[in-house]
Every structure is written in C-alpha cells, then in structure tokens.
Amino acid sequence: MRKLLAASLAVAFVAGLAACGERPQVVTYKQGTYQGKPDTQPWSNPPYNGNKEQWEQAIRTRMQSQNEYKRAS
C-alpha cells in the first residue's frame, strides 16, 4: 500500500514537472504546405553576412532601448 502511494506520488511529481517544459510555439511548416517562394534569414545578407549572433545582439540592444527605465539609469 505504501509502495503504491510512493509510486503514485512519484508519478504525480514527474507529471507536475511536465508543466515546467516549454513547447515551441512557432509553427514549422512542412515542405509542400507553403506554396510560395523561399525567403532568406534577416542575418544572411550584408551587413551581417550570416553572423546570427551579431544580428541577435543588435536586435537585443534595440529591444532594451525601448525600456526607458534602463535607458535613464
């Protein structure tokens, strides 16, 4: 009986942890669903020339500049 209780508690604990996960919310379109032309990534052209980290850093800086509490201090 105690084993059953422990096992059910363990299952409940593991199931509870499942809520901590994050499923990707961006839809990945399978080949053949989108019928239009392919598009390039925003960092694949000059001035970034494929440097994704540099592009992400630029976007992060821009995003933070919208926060005037950070800008002012």
């Binding site: 019928q35 239009g36 032309k37 960092w43 630029a58 976007i59 995003m63 919208q66 926060n67 005037e68």
Partner: protein
C-alpha cells in the same frame, strides 16, 4: 530564437497616430491601405483608452489556416509573412483575422480588390533582402538591417513595443511594478470577467479616473 510580438500599453497610448504615420512613410503604403491603426475605446468619455493595432503575428495564425493558396509562412523569429505573387486577393484572411490586419488596395478603376497587404513586422517578404522588388511589394526590411519595426521604435510615449515577446513582457512587468497598477489590463479578469461577487472587471474604464497618470 525570438518570438516577435507587438505590445501596446493602453495606459501610455495618447492616440497621436505617430505609429500609423511612421508605417505609412517607412513602407510608402498606398492610399487606402492601413497596415496599422489606432483604435480608441470609449472615445470622448473620461478614461478612454487607445490601442495601436496591426498584424499580431499570431503563433497559430488563422489567416494562414484559411488561405486557399497557402501563401503564408512564418519566419524563424515568429513573423507571419506572405507571398504576394501567390496571393489571389480572395479576402478569406481578412474574414479570419480577429484584428482586421489584412488590407486590400484598390487594383483598378472599378474597385477590384488587389493582393493582400499587411504588417510585415518590417521584415519584408520572400524577395532578396533589401532589394527593390522587396520594397515595392512588402516595404522596407528593417529587421535585416538589425532594427525593430518603425512604428514601435518611433513611438513617442513608448506605448507600442515591438520585439521578442519575453523581453516585452519584462519591460511591461517593470512598468506595472513602478506604476503600482495596470497589470489588470491584461489577463484573466479582462478576458473572462470578474469572479462572482467581486463587482466589475478591474479593466472597466469607469474605474480608471482621469488622475494618476504616470
């Protein structure tokens, strides 16, 4: 991987329509098409609220779901874009969109509907980045220049925020903490009404008197 979103802080929006103008100017949008617009609720009544609305770049976009020619796609950063070469201008996406984002320019003398046009989160479309073809069809590609949408970046009161949803949530949370109120504008009570016996929903305009502006 960012999830690009817009967030409009109704406590800060002053209905200046600067975002609308910035969008029009940035992309040279034709007459009759408004990728972005400002909606005012309870206009003229004390406690009125304005909010800037455009394509919300839905995670599961209904426009893409109903498009009969499958011209919509979503970028790695969560921006919903479409291929104008494929669009047939049927208008299904307009009916499906809860925000009225898809716009249809007049294509002829008799008011025929042209190909759909909508907010691109300043990310262009399926043409070579920053090419003339891309600008003509979809407008300027600011994202490829490492910039955020023009509407959000030029907003004078920083009511309109654009960027990764997580970052925007952090900025908004900090504002609400400093203000000491306003968090109730979004959330359960707004969507589903107040709990039984708790009176009006906190977001109701009657409970927001003119004072206490931050």
């Amino acid at each position: 991987m960012a999830r690009m979103k817009f967030l409009c802080d109704a406590e800060r929006c002053i209905e200046c329509n600067g975002c609308v103008t910035a969008c029009k100017q940035e992309h040279e949008i034709p007459w009759g098409v408004n990728r972005r617009r400002v909606v005012t609720i309870n206009d003229g009544v004390p406690g009125e609220r304005s909010i800037s609305v455009a394509c919300m770049h839905c995670s599961d976009a209904p426009c893409a779901a109903v498009c009969p020619v499958d011209c919509f796609y979503k970028t790695e950063d969560g921006v919903v874009l479409h291929d104008k070469d494929l669009c047939i201008g049927c208008g299904y996406c307009f009916y499906a969109c809860p925000f009225g984002a898809p716009q249809f320019p007049q294509a002829g003398a008799f008011g025929q509907r042209g190909k759909m046009d909508k907010c691109t989160f300043c990310a262009g479309g399926p043409e070579a980045d920053r090419s003339e073809a891309e600008f003509k069809k979809y407008g300027r590609n600011r994202l490829a220049e490492g910039k955020l949408p023009a509407c959000a970046e030029m907003c004078a009161t920083k009511a309109l925020l654009g960027g990764d949803g997580d970052v925007l949530a952090d900025i908004y949370r900090e504002r609400v903490t400093v203000r000491g109120r306003g968090g109730e504008v979004w959330g359960w009570a707004t969507a589903y009404g107040p709990a039984p016996g708790k009176g009006q929903a906190p977001a109701a305009p009657a409970q927001q008197p003119g004072g206490q502006k931050s």
